[in-house]
């Protein structure tokens, strides 16, 4: 949970290089000096020097629209390129416009790919971008990918193409293995950041797994951040310990679950300067009687720790060791730790300065009450379910939510999985936590009404959009009628990302949203009764959005084709079994604006209308 990672998970400022739908000025690739008078060129150089201080994407986009001269100057000086949808623009177009890029952020698959709704091989291959960038960005330092496919060959190419390469961050990516990681470790001598976050590595046999940790150079490294809890394989611990010892700049270390507490102690001894620590498992490696483990002094020595995570196989008897650092913690991730309320309470009571807290619902409403009493400064809370099925018992409910709303008044972001909820609790949160920017409530049982009144959850979500004036991201659940969506359309003017599941009664529901939410950029809908005529209601707005995803609604090919015909710069992808007759029900729809026309790497199960 890096602070920077929140930039990836939450919705940032509007759109990448194409915020407003403006025609491409000057046709991209005009380098300086082609037909520009000398005096103008001087002014441009002055402008470039000024624009270097402009870092916000939105500001830069605005600056680029002033006039051609500003467009050129901005293009020359943009160092950080953000592409919110890798298919919205071709790599070549991007590299021709922006010549001096040092860092690139690319996002690929739609978010519902995380929930197995996008078949394997859909796309978002990094290789085509790499192919375009390698020759023209020799000074590239940073690559950050989310939901893209990156192969070992790509990793090798990165290592060989960018001599100053410093930062590789892969979030929810797939396609690579320890083979590629070894090449990065070996060849990227200036590497500062290697963050592998929730990636799916290619499966490797035991004899295929490469000991990539051992491949880092023997000399002092510039490593500042090494995150590899998702790399599931075992590794050479001594190599890691030695690596940590020769990385004086290391501030963030998150290991995988193979690391025992005894080993953790050794790592912490080598790196007392750590600010972010992912403990892996938090269990002792000694079998039998509780080993004498002086973990407390290790944590006492780590005076800079502000973020703790891991705890995957937590043995609660060792938790008291962390009490000493709790007071300094701003971020704590217990979301893989199966803890009861009794086990949580003594820890959380020490965490007075916590801003971010992720936890499993095993702590129950009682645990959340303790959180609400201790963590008055909390800004972000995520409560995950241990048993993520619809029929599970559910350990947290409206009671926990109410308690949090009363104690944590500064809350800005919440993700809450539960089985039971009431409108009253949600309304209370809307009033107690006016700073809410992100509200994601997942009532796991589909179509579940208010636990006490039996009513739909319309009023609760209505209150959220009405009272939380800063709200930009919303996920709804439970029994919801068109009324809830009407509220969202009416009051959710700042909402940029909306997730709707099993909601609404009719096309009106979607219509309210599409006509009302003028700031909407990302819309995900599943299993809701919206048909072609509702889809048409958004035609005025789709060019302003990054994407629309709909699955298991009531769309037909005819309706989707209709939209495709009306909006030539909108790519309308239907994920299909191969049938293409017009009356055919569309199971999965993914639409996004693009400057390029249909992509040429679409697999057979994707039909582009």
């Amino acid at each position: 949970m890096r602070e920077e990672a929140s930039e990836m998970s939450e919705d940032e400022e509007a759109g990448g290089a194409k915020e407003r739908w403006a025609p491409d000025l000057g046709g991209g690739g005009e380098g300086g000096g082609s037909a520009v008078p000398f005096s103008d060129r001087v002014l441009e150089i002055v402008l470039e020097n000024v624009l270097q201080f402009l870092t916000s994407r939105r500001d830069r986009n605005a600056a680029s629209l002033v006039c051609r001269s500003w467009y050129r100057a901005e293009a020359q000086t943009r160092r950080d390129l953000f592409i919110g949808n890798c298919y919205a623009v071709a790599p070549r177009r991007a590299t021709e416009r922006f010549r001096g890029v040092r860092s690139i952020v690319l996002k690929g698959k739609p978010r519902f790919a995380d929930f197995s709704l996008v078949p394997y091989g859909w796309g978002a291959h990094f290789s085509s971008w790499l192919f375009a960038m390698a020759p023209v960005y020799p000074w590239l330092e940073r690559i950050c990918l989310k939901r893209m496919t990156i192969a070992d060959d790509d990793l090798s190419r990165i290592a060989h193409s960018f001599p100053l390469f410093k930062d590789l961050t892969l979030i929810c990516c797939d396609g690579f293995s320890t083979v590629g990681l070894a090449i990065i470790a070996d060849k990227c001598r200036h590497l500062r950041v290697l963050d592998l976050i929730e990636d799916y590595l290619e499966d490797e046999d035991d004899d295929e797994v490469v000991d990539w940790i051992s491949r880092f150079p023997e000399t002092t490294t510039s490593l500042e951040s090494l995150v590899f809890d998702c790399v599931a394989g075992a590794f050479n611990f001594e190599a890691l310990e030695a690596l940590v010892a020769r990385s004086p700049g290391l501030r963030r270390l998150r290991v995988n679950h193979h690391v025992t507490l005894e080993q953790l102690r050794r790592l912490m001894a080598r790196a007392p300067q750590l600010t972010h620590l992912g403990t892996g498992a938090f269990r002792s490696g000694s079998v039998g009687a509780e080993a004498e483990l002086d973990l407390t002094s290790s944590f006492a020595a780590s005076k800079s720790l502000v973020c703790l995570s891991g705890f995957r196989e937590v043995e609660p008897e060792y938790l008291p060791a962390i009490y000493l650092v709790c007071a300094n913690l701003t971020s704590l991730n217990f979301s893989f730790a199966n803890l009861t309320a009794e086990e949580l309470k003594p820890v959380i009571q020490h965490c007075r300065n916590l801003r971010t807290f992720w936890v499993l619902d095993t702590v129950g409403d009682e645990g959340l009450l303790a959180v609400s009493q201790a963590c008055r400064d909390l800004r972000e809370l995520r409560v995950f379910p241990l048993d993520a099925t619809e029929d599970s018992e559910g350990s947290v409910s409206d009671i926990g939510l109410q308690a949090i709303s009363e104690g944590c008044r500064k809350l800005q972001s919440i993700l809450y999985f539960c089985q039971q909820m009431t409108n009253a609790a949600v309304i209370a949160m809307s009033k107690n936590c006016p700073d809410l920017v992100v509200f994601r409530l997942c009532i796991m049982g589909r179509h579940r009404p208010d636990r006490i009144t039996g009513e739909p959850m319309d009023e609760g979500f209505g209150a959220i959009v009405m009272n939380c004036k800063k709200l930009t991201r919303l996920s709804v659940s439970g029994l919801l009628t068109d009324k809830a969506l009407a509220y969202i359309g009416k009051y959710g003017k700042l909402v940029r990302t909306l997730s709707v599941a099993f909601a609404g009664n009719s096309d009106l529901g979607l219509r309210y949203v599409l006509e009302g939410c003028s700031g909407l950029q990302k819309l995900e809908i599943r299993d809701s009764p919206f048909s072609d005529s509702a889809l048409l209601c958004g035609v005025h707005h789709y060019y302003n959005m990054r994407f629309l995803w709909m699955n298991s609604c009531k769309l037909s090919m005819r309706g989707c084709k209709d939209v495709a015909e009306r909006l030539p710069n909108l790519i309308v992808e239907v994920i299909t079994d191969g049938t293409t007759n017009d009356a055919e029900e569309v199971e999965r729809l993914y639409m996004y604006r693009s400057l390029e026309g249909p992509r040429n790497d679409a697999p057979p199960f994707v039909k582009i209308l």
């Binding site: 929930f115 929810c172 929730e198 799916y200 499966d203 995957r312 241990l386 997942c442 796991m444």
Partner: protein
């Protein structure tokens, strides 16, 4: 469990020749329903199930079939807990680990064939493992998936034909294929 397994007519013979996830003689419909309540029901021998089926049809409610991708939890998180549940003491040096891939799923799984007592348990485990990744709902006439395995000779065979012991000693890896491909394969054999 709901869904009678004893059809005593030609339909059964027809179905017996079709490619399914199961050995011949087991209704696909029951397979899907049973997958959804596999976590609740204890394992029972096949014969015992047949007897009690008719009795329970009227009384036992069918649990909701699990829906793909709901609740919206990343597979990474779900797998973290699932693999912990099956963390048996791993001092068995006799485990038979094979990779299982499924068309349409971005990652492979590895299972130890030794821990299953027969095909029945294997089907359940695979369905549990991949249930969140299945692409399409059931179409009884055209089963969408078939489980195949690569044997010692490098040939791809349909799982379920040979006795269990023979299977686990010769299976090198498994692949869950789309029904149309599997059909194509068998017709060319």
């Amino acid at each position: 469990m709901k869904g009678a397994t004893c059809y005593k007519n030609d339909l059964e013979n027809l179905r017996a020749t079709e490619l399914t996830l199961r050995p011949p003689g087991i209704d696909v419909e029951e397979v899907i329903r049973s997958a959804s309540i596999a976590t609740k029901c204890k394992k029972r021998a096949l014969s015992e199930k047949k007897e009690t089926d008719e009795n329970e049809q009227a009384t036992e409610p069918v649990a909701k079939a699990q829906i793909v991708g709901w609740p919206p939890i990343r597979a990474y998180r779900m797998n973290s807990f699932r693999s912990r549940k099956s963390l048996v003491v791993d001092d068995n040096n006799g485990g038979i680990y094979v990779k299982v891939s499924m068309d349409g799923v971005p990652y492979l799984r590895k299972i130890d064939l030794k821990i299953y007592e027969g095909y029945e348990e294997l089907w359940r485990a695979l369905e549990d493992m991949f249930k969140c990744s299945s692409l399409v709902p059931v179409n009884y006439d055209e089963p969408k998936y078939a489980i195949t395995y690569e044997d010692k000779d490098g040939d791809w065979m349909l799982v379920g034909d040979v006795p269990w012991e023979m299977f686990i000693s010769s299976c090198k890896r498994m692949r869950i294929m789309k029904g149309c491909e599997a059909r194509g394969q068998s017709s060319s054999a």
